[in-house]
């Protein structure tokens, strides 16, 4: 039972760690100008937009400045660092995943994982049929190894005929 639980938890953790990786790719392989301007927030007050998206004059000037810095041979990381040094961390559109800011990134996933763990414990306690015994999957091409419970079948029939929700 414990090993099943561990496996389920492991699968969930792997799933969660895989999917943020996917989400990281959500921004796409931006290079050069885009890779910098999509990480800097525009402080023009128009909206919560990055320099890449904002259409105000200030964003135009920042884009031009970033382009110049890149053309002089600075790497995107160096340009970003220069901006952070000049304007502080708040110039970045998202907090860096370092130090205390890591809490900001991790907590939502940790909360959902903790909630999922708690939910599994609660559901197992509430379930009349333990999780390990629940007939989740059948052998390929197979039939249920035990005949279905007639009372259960009757209940399914009733539900099919009169679904409440």
């Amino acid at each position: 039972m414990l090993s099943r639980c561990r496996r389920a938890t492991l699968a969930m953790v792997l799933g969660m760690t895989l999917v943020p990786g996917v989400a990281g790719a959500a921004t796409g392989p931006a290079s050069g100008l885009d890779s910098v301007t999509e990480k800097i927030i525009c402080e023009c007050g128009c909206s919560n937009l990055t320099i890449k998206n904002c259409t105000c004059g200030k964003a135009d000037r920042v884009r031009a400045d970033v382009a110049v810095r890149l053309s002089r041979g600075q790497t995107p990381d160096q340009v970003l660092k220069a901006y952070v040094d000049e304007y502080g961390e708040q110039i970045l559109a998202a907090p860096t995943a370092k130090g205390f800011n890591l809490v900001g990134w991790v907590l939502p996933f940790a909360a959902v994982l903790a909630g999922a763990g708690l939910l599994i414990v609660v559901l197992r306690r509430w379930s009349r049929v333990p999780f390990s015994d629940a007939p989740l999957l059948l052998p390929l091409g197979g039939q249920p190894s035990t005949p279905p419970d007639p009372a259960f079948l009757q209940r399914v029939r009733e539900e099919m005929e009169n679904p409440e929700v």
Binding site: L49, N101, G115
Partner: protein, 662 residues
């Protein structure tokens, strides 16, 4: 008229206070006269606030600039429509609209329940009156829209030009209908706790109210997104601004609530969780008001310098303290002895759905307040913008999407493996076919591949559910398939209305994925006659037009859109300069199809050289988002329509509760 309006607010305050006191005392002493007096006072508050609102509208329509609020948000030249909608253009007027809607809802609840829920009603009226009273205190002491200036300026400042669109005229009222609508199920929840009638009567009574609030919050989000898309000129519809987030959060928890109440209705379980969800939803609606009006979290939407932040924070704290105290007091009554028949059941999948909805809500909340947390702990200002919210919410949304497909396939109580296999076979096959098709057509990015595959899977499950139900009905009744389909939906509006809403969600998700992952962007500087290529389109800069009036200088370009040699149409992106606001404004133009939008922005024009700089976005599938909301609107209407069986279940629940208490 302004004095009369102010006087009305004072009378409403007095009547509201009496409604609260009389209802609370009536509930405690079971005095019929006090209860009825409380209800009548509550109805009186509605009438008085309606009079006050008429006064404010009159002042706007008659250009009474001696009233500070009118002078700030109206001007002589404004069209009549916007003079009316300027009512809620600022903090004080929007607060009056808020409390007017709340009191109107209170009146409707009282009239609906003249012969029902008589034990709950005094507590309901007391709770709603308490909320109304708080906002009336704000209106009277901090934010009076009838406050007068020492002198009358010749003209008013006028409403922000970007807000002078029909969309912005109805966007705030829709959001308020949603925010305020949440108060009704919250009040019934509190009434259930206070009266000790914690069965499912309060849930069944308020189901349509919850759906109503949920729908209007959704419409508010849609209108806000659509307005941002066509007005703000950055090519997107959602920027994760704190005020946008504030409206999204109660919508998410209300969605969770709408799902989890089904388990309470069917299994008598989750009574505590449902109470927590409705308290959370109401608190988040107040939190939204706090964010918009306090200035604690900077937002482009916020009402500047309203000064009510601390008062709202105290109110929010009081609501949380009151709700948690009452909930803790009644915990023994709420504990259910219900059990699940199986771990693998629709009940379980609903609970995971709840976990993800609340998890996404928490992620949004955490991202919204994290700058404040960071500043408080590290004394370092940071920004939490779109990259954070997209990265955190995308995986959680994918998991939620998967559950949207899985839930309908799992039976209530217990799912057998055989039935599960059968149910999953066709939708999963369809999803796999979609996955392969996308691969064949060259899609290699894993995120949209997973997202579109899941969309196909959920779409497949929904179509399969509609088909399976219609087919079963056709077999049992001998009706033609089309009639069986219509009757199936008609006989179980709640279920199939819900499935229709899910279809809308799929359309929205498809639109978001399409427009986020496959957006193309081109910037070009052109002289007249020159063209730029944007995706499949050739866009030619043909001409310019300038116009000037008392309020604005308008500059428009004329662009011809071609696909190959075929002329598709003319777009006119431009820039206006509004003199009164000393504010430039981007006027975008869009060539819109079901497949994609060509979104054209004029960035700059140099009259010396004649060189114009344009930015063009090709946004795939954006229209699916708006269509998805229309489908959600239709689905909600199907679910909310009066249903004979729902009425019978409510009557039975009332009877059970009466017997239980007796």
């Amino acid at each position: 008229m302004a004095q009369f309006g102010s006087f009305s607010l004072i009378v409403a305050l007095a009547a509201g206070a009496w409604a609260l006191v009389a209802s609370a005392l009536g509930a405690l002493t079971r005095s019929r006269s006090l209860i009825e007096s409380g209800e009548r006072s509550s109805l009186a508050v509605t009438s008085i606030l309606a009079i006050a609102s008429c006064c404010l509208s009159y002042l706007f329509l008659h250009d009474r600039f001696d009233v500070e609020y009118v002078a700030s948000y109206s001007s002589r030249a404004m069209p009549t429509l916007y003079k009316i909608t300027a009512f809620w253009g600022g903090h004080a007027g929007s607060l009056l609209l808020w409390v007017l809607v709340l009191s109107a809802f209170s009146a409707l609840v009282i009239l609906q329940n003249r012969h029902h829920n008589r034990t709950l009603m005094p507590f309901v009226v007391a709770t709603l009156s308490g909320i109304t009273l708080f906002f009336l205190v704000l209106l009277n002491y901090t934010s009076n829209p009838f406050a007068q200036l020492a002198f009358a300026p010749p003209d008013g400042k006028g409403l922000n030009p970007q807000l002078q669109t029909p969309l912005m005229a109805i966007h705030p009222p829709c959001l308020y209908l949603g925010y305020v609508g949440v108060s009704v199920p919250y009040a019934f929840g509190m009434a259930a706790l206070l009266s000790g009638r914690v069965g499912d009567v309060w849930i069944r009574t308020t189901r349509r109210w919850t759906l109503f609030a949920w729908l209007f919050l959704g419409i508010g989000l849609l209108l806000g997104g659509y307005w941002a898309y066509i007005e703000l000129g950055w090519g997107g519809y959602w920027a994760w601004d704190p005020v946008e987030n504030a409206a999204l959060m109660p919508w998410l928890t209300a969605t969770a609530f709408l799902h989890s109440v089904m388990i309470q209705e069917k299994k008598r379980m989750l009574k505590i969780w449902n109470m927590v969800l409705i308290i959370l939803t109401f608190c988040l609606s107040i939190f939204g008001t706090f964010v918009t009006r306090s200035g604690v979290i900077s937002s482009v939407h916020a009402f500047a310098k309203s000064g009510v932040g601390p008062v709202l924070a105290v109110f929010l704290g009081s609501v949380i303290a009151f709700s948690v105290t009452i909930l803790t007091w009644r915990l023994p009554m709420l504990r259910s002895d219900g059990r699940l028949d199986s771990f693998v059941s629709r009940e379980s999948s609903f609970l995971f759905n709840n976990l993800l909805l609340v998890g996404i809500c928490f992620a949004v909340f955490w991202g919204t307040i994290f700058p404040v947390v960071s500043e408080a702990i590290r004394n370092v200002k940071i920004t939490v913008g779109p990259p954070f919210f997209n990265a955190v919410n995308f995986p959680l949304s994918l998991a939620l999407l998967a559950l949207t497909g899985i839930c309908p396939l799992i039976a209530w109580r217990r799912a057998s493996a055989h039935r599960l296999m059968r149910a999953f076979l066709y939708p999963a096959s369809g999803a796999m076919a979609m996955f392969l098709l996308l691969l064949v057509f060259g899609m290699r990015d894993l995120s949209p591949l997973i997202a579109f595959t899941l969309c196909a899977f959920v779409f497949g499950t929904l179509v399969y559910e509609f088909y399976r139900g219609s087919r079963a009905r056709q077999r049992s009744t001998g009706e033609p398939f089309a009639s069986a389909f219509v009757n199936l939906v008609n006989k179980n509006r709640r279920r199939y209305g819900g499935y229709t809403v899910h279809l809308g969600v799929i359309l929205i998700f498809t639109g978001i994925v399409g427009s986020s992952f496959f957006r193309q962007e081109v910037t070009a500087s052109l002289r007249r006659g020159e063209s730029m290529i944007a995706g499949r389109y050739t866009v030619r800069f043909d001409d310019t037009h300038s116009a000037s009036n008392a309020h604005a200088d308008e500059f428009t370009t004329v662009m011809t859109v071609l696909q190959g040699d075929r002329r598709l149409g003319t777009l006119r992106p431009g820039r206006n300069f509004y003199k009164a606001f000393n504010q430039p404004s981007t006027e975008v133009d869009i060539y819109s199809t079901l497949r994609e939008d060509l979104y054209l922005i004029l960035i700059d024009f140099d009259p010396q050289t004649g060189l114009a700089t344009f930015k063009a976005y090709v946004n795939p599938l954006v229209n699916w988002i708006w269509i998805g909301w229309v489908v959600i609107f239709i689905g909600t209407h199907i679910a909310v329509f009066p249903d004979r069986r729902e009425r019978a279940l409510l009557a039975r629940a009332r009877l059970v509760e009466e017997r239980g208490v007796a």
